[in-house]
């Protein structure tokens, strides 16, 4: 992954962290994610990504996000050393 890359959430691997920078997609998807606290500026950690839905932790809550929706959350991936 390139330095300071902005990628869809779904691209992160298990254990990766990032910061939400944008949500793309229709009004429905955007407002739903906002209401759940998935908003730009929040730190997100990927707990599981095994080809199906993705498991994340954000704001101290855990969510299962379907792959389609996880494509719409753009994150700034943190570089792992």
């Amino acid at each position: 992954m390139s330095l300071n890359s902005k990628v869809p959430l779904i691209m992160l691997r298990e254990g990766d962290e990032g910061v939400v920078v944008d949500i793309i997609g229709g009004r429905g998807a955007v407002s739903k994610l906002l209401a759940l606290g998935i908003v730009p500026g929040k730190k997100v950690k990927v707990l599981g990504n095994r080809g199906g839905a993705i498991l994340i932790s954000i704001n101290g809550s855990k969510f299962v996000v379907g792959r389609g929706l996880a494509m719409k959350v753009i994150v700034h991936a943190k570089q792992k050393n």
Binding site: K32, L34, L36, L47, G52, A53, F63, V65, L69
Partner: protein
């Protein structure tokens, strides 16, 4: 006084309703337990109060059906007071909805529920300060332990306050700012949830553990309950024999009809009750939403999403609440597909058929045969879902679901879930199944008591040709016909007819009969629910589709089994 209970999903609204009213409403540890608004009444200091528990929502923007229902309730029914229930461990996110409620200018009380869990996680909330910022009373509660309920009742009598909050920028920013002011997080101790998730959600072990849980649920249902089942069985046999040995047609009706018929179904009460206990443990522990994640990939292969898993598992108990539970699936096409295939998930009403036939034809492999039938139902459900999604209900689906922490089910909630569902079974035994026993008894004893020339014989033989490819005797055809009302009636019919099953049926025919009974059509109650949730077109489709599939599959099974 009318009070609306509003809050995010799974924050304990229904648990609080129970605490306030002493009611027996069903709670569950996953988002989307309550799908229909529930009303509970209470008298507080002599004052009649109506509590309305609404399905959980994250916002009031009315994108989903639940949000629309809640919004309509607030604008059209104008409750006197809103109890906004929030999860104390997650104040910031919950405040987003709170700040939207401000616009309605209805008096409010903020209930900080699950304080016990917040404290365990080292989260402290300054309730007084929060109350000042929002301009409404703030009460801390632990709904499941009754903590804070008396204080809440006193505050309810005072009527709450109309909130006045300054929105700075947008509500997301405002919620964040407020949370920063009132929430203090101390170091957290290790969490049971983290430890359990490490195991249950493990990359390699997760799915095997899920399958093991399902397996345990069924073994628990069969093995633990069997001694009780045998006991009830012999009690009913003795009773039926005694009554029908008395002289007179009424004794025959009661002995050979009602007691024998209803008894043949009631025998399964222990099995069914134990299945409900196991299911309620799944629903209350918080494991269900984990299954959503674990099964997502497999479900997606079949055109569904992980979200479909919860209704499918609930279907093992009864398809009626399971079909209703599909309401929490956001995507309409996935919802319809999940709801249409749900009747293929073998509910508890079909268990008597398997136990009876597997016991007669496969005495040494009873459990394996029964488990295979359950698995077969799941397979047909998934394949059908794939077909529906490819042909009738195409399109991408999106979803998100919150994972709650694991919670140790408390015995009261287990009891409520188990009893409500067992009670439903008993009511069915006392009404539909009893009524059918009279009908079947009448059909077998009139116009002549010679069974071959009775109405039952005539009707069965008339329809028999339809099922000629499977080679079933007329008694079985009649049982299928009667069982359309409720699947328990299949066994009841055969019992009242005194059918010598193992003498007039081959093993391959028996297998085909079990498969047919599993698939052939949703019972009347399930059909009514499908109609309510998806419209009459889909319910007619469900009948035609499942009958066709059942007929075809049963035929194939019969042929293959005969060859082996």
């Amino acid at each position: 006084m009318k009070i609306a209970m509003i809050g995010n999903p799974n924050v304990g609204k229904t648990a609080l309703l129970n605490a306030l009213t002493g009611g027996n409403f069903e709670v569950g540890n996953f988002p989307g337990t309550t799908v229909e608004k529930k009303e509970g009444k209470a008298k507080i200091d002599g004052k009649e109060i109506l509590f309305v528990d609404l399905p959980g929502i994250y916002s009031l923007e009315a994108h989903s059906l639940d949000e629309k229902v809640a919004k309509d309730f607030l604008t059209k029914e104008r409750p006197d007071l809103i109890l906004n229930i929030v999860n104390a461990s997650n104040l910031e996110r919950n405040l987003y909805l709170t700040l939207q409620l401000v616009d309605f200018k209805i008096p409010m009380i903020l209930v900080l529920n699950m304080i016990d869990e917040a404290e365990k996680r080292g989260i402290r909330i300054d309730a007084e300060r929060l109350s000042k910022i929002l301009g409404i009373p703030v009460i801390k509660t632990v709904a499941v332990k009754g903590i804070g309920i008396e204080e809440l009742k006193r505050e309810i009598l005072r009527g709450g306050k109309v909130p006045r909050v300054e929105i700075e920028g947008n509500i997301i920013k405002t919620a964040e700012k407020i949370a920063k002011k009132v929430v203090r997080v101390e170091e957290r101790r290790i969490d049971l949830t983290e430890i359990l998730d490490d195991v249950f959600m493990d990359k390699h072990l997760g799915i095997p553990i899920f399958i093991a849980f399902m397996w345990m649920m069924f073994t628990f249902t069969f093995t633990v309950a069997t001694p009780l089942t045998d006991l009830i069985d012999s009690a009913f046999s003795v009773l039926a024999e005694y009554v029908s040995s008395l002289n007179g047609i009424v004794f025959s009706l009661i002995g050979d009809g009602v007691i024998k018929g209803v008894g043949s179904v009631l025998v399964f009460l222990p099995n069914i009750a134990f299945l409900f206990v196991a299911l309620s443990l799944l629903e209350l522990s918080g494991y269900m939403p984990r299954a959503v994640y674990l099964m997502d990939k497999i479900m997606t292969t079949f055109g569904l999403t992980g979200r479909s898993v919860i209704p499918l598992i609930m279907g093992f108990g009864c398809n009626v609440p399971a079909v209703m539970a599909t309401r929490s699936i956001e995507d309409d096409r996935v919802r319809i597909a999940t709801l249409l295939v749900n009747p293929f998930i073998s509910c508890s009403a079909r268990l008597p058929i398997y136990v009876l036939f597997a016991g007669l034809f496969f005495p040494n492999a009873k459990t394996i045969v029964i488990m295979s039938l359950y698995a077969f139902g799941v397979a047909i459900a998934l394949i059908s879902a794939l077909i529906f999604r490819k042909v009738l209900l195409r399109g991408e689906a999106e979803y998100i679901i919150e994972l709650p922490p694991y919670r140790i089910p408390n015995w009261r909630d287990v009891w409520i879930l188990t009893w409500n569902r067992t009670k439903h079974f008993l009511q069915k035994a006392g009404t539909v199944i009893l009524g059918m026993s009279v009908v079947i008894w009448f059909l077998t004893n009139f116009p002549t008591s010679n069974i071959e020339s009775s109405y039952a014989g005539t009707l069965g033989k008339l329809l028999q040709p339809i099922f000629a490819p499977m080679g079933w005797d007329w008694q079985f055809v009649l049982a299928i016909l009667m069982g359309a009302v409720a699947k328990e009636v299949v066994v009841e019919t055969l019992s009242i007819l005194n059918t010598p099953i193992s003498q007039i049926m081959t093993t391959s025919q028996a297998l085909a009969f079990m498969v047919f009974s599993l698939l052939y059509m949703p019972c009347i109650a399930t059909l009514a629910t499908i109609k309510a949730e998806a419209g009459w077109k889909w319910s007619i489709f469900a009948v035609i589709y499942s009958f066709t599939v059942a007929y075809f599959v049963a035929f194939v099974v019969e042929v293959i089994a005969r060859l082996i």
